[in-house]
Amino acid sequence: MSAPALIRGYEVVIGLETHAQLSTASKIFSGASTQFGAAPNTQACAVDLALPGTLPVMNKGAVERAIQFGLAVHAKVAPLSIFARKNYFYPDLPKGYQISQYEIPVVQGGKVEFVLNGQKKTVRLTRAHLEEDAGKSLHEDYQGQTGIDLNRAGTPLLEIVSEPDMRSSAEAVEYAKALHTLVVWLGICDGNMQEGSFRCDANVSVRKPGAPFGTRREIKNLNSFRFLQQAIDFEVQWQIDRVEDGLPIEQATVLFNPDTGETRAMRSKEDAADYRYFPDPDLPPLVISPAWVARVKTAMPELPAAMAERFVREDGLPEADAALMTQSLAFARFYEAVRDGCGTPKLAANWLMGEVSKRLNAEGRGIEAAALQPATLAALIRRVADSTVSNNGARQVFELLWSGAQTDVDAIIEAQGLKQMNDSSALLAIVDEVIAANAKSVEEFRAGKEKAFNALVGQVMKASKGKANPAQAGELLRQRLG
């Protein structure tokens, strides 16, 4: 990586722990549903509630998703991993311990690559392990008490731990986005950050360049990329202030308050330091055979990086375009459908980066939600390519196609009278009229003023009510004036 930008002379060191909720139908250790938004405790079964006598039974679907992730980040998928108990008391933790993986996680090592302002960055992964989510504490008042909803308890999580390889909040955000794209691409996580399906804890410290790592503070539960950036930026300033004031930084778990944009140390975690991890005697070692890994591998979709590379190689797209075409699996599939339909990859990419993205962003939706079908857009692009319609005309057609109400491109071009005038005799007549009617411009052009020529072309376009093909109009003008 290139030399990191310093903040007030300090180097920022960031590592991320990301919790991705795995997209299984049932919980990691029980047959209860993982559906979001059910009435409180209606999806907390006997096992999730830790009722006396209950025992955990591991969900194969969660393991499969962990294997997919491991393969996608070029990590080692451990042939044997161990579930351990992390012991601490908290009302949203029904058993009084969380079943997690400690000494031997299922995914070991790996790396995530992304591009930040044109520069390729690599963040190494330490590990990714399977664990169960906790329930939720509802802090709105119940006569001064807290309400506990355990529907989320037991939802499978993949905790993805990075090395402290990031040197700015911007890098942290790009890494998180790349990770988000990947897990959604793989279909192992729905990526819904509002619902908490993808949450980040950021370990932040500062140091003078070359100095050993400073003491880190962990910012918990950041569930939007904006909050991630804001929280890190605030934390960095706070830590630098303290160091500058000669004050020590104690290792702490801190919370980010989106309203104030500030971080503050959690009180409840003060004494949680001693988790008394030990292998869970209810769960023998998780064994993953090479055959299983191979089966999962063959079933995996082509990964974003590989696909982008293919678009550059086979479609001749610029790298930047290819990156945008692979922003999500749905987007990439859409691009490929349009490309195949119109046969002009670059034009397909242009339309997706231009008109399509503009509307999707305005509507805050993903391409999978668009009414416009790839085949329809391809048809329109073909008409631009064969100059049946001008780019301006095509934009007007697109307006009508976007809603999905109309899909017959040619019919629209007809109905809207956007067909370009491509037969020269009719155009020639107009050209002659224009030359006759604009002696002054003709003079200036002959005197060598190119601008005058453009004016004449403009007149032709005007007279043709925009149906003329500008290129063709220009040609004919030059012939006549030549």
Binding site: T24, A25, S26, S30, G31, A32, S33, A39, P40, N41, T42, Q43, A44, C45, A46, L49, L51, V57, M58, N59, K60, G61, A62, V63, F83, F89, P91, S137, L138, H139, Y142, G144, Q145, T146, G147, I148, D149, L150, L255, M266, R267, S268, D271, D274, R276, P279, P281, L283, P284, P285, L286, V287
Partner: protein
């Protein structure tokens, strides 16, 4: 090695057990009495020995059995909360949690 009263109270706190000072003193005696017989264990050389976390692995490879990802449970909230100390609107109530 012998425990101290401070350790006893630290452990009691970790275990969320309120112990009177009399109880702590008695606990200290009994724990130290017990750890007296533990010492013999520490003397044994176990280098290279694999821990036996689950008995059958003494004679055969024991693997975690996995279940298919299927929803098998239905809402049993009423039955499940029958023995709950404090419930309102389907939520378990606890003294205010301060984060």
């Amino acid at each position: 090695m012998a425990l101290t009263l401070q350790e006893v109270s630290r452990i009691a706190h970790l275990a969320r057990l309120e112990l009177s000072s009399a109880e702590q003193t008695q606990m200290l005696e009994q724990l130290n009495g017990f750890f007296g017989i533990v010492e013999q264990m520490s003397a044994v050389d176990t280098s290279g020995v694999e821990p036996l976390y689950t008995p059958l692995s003494a004679v055969q490879a024991v693997e975690l059995r996995l279940r298919e990802d299927r929803v098998t449970e239905t809402n049993q909230r009423e039955a499940h909360q029958r023995s709950a100390p404090a419930v309102e609107d389907g939520l378990f109530l606890v003294p205010k949690v301060i984060e």
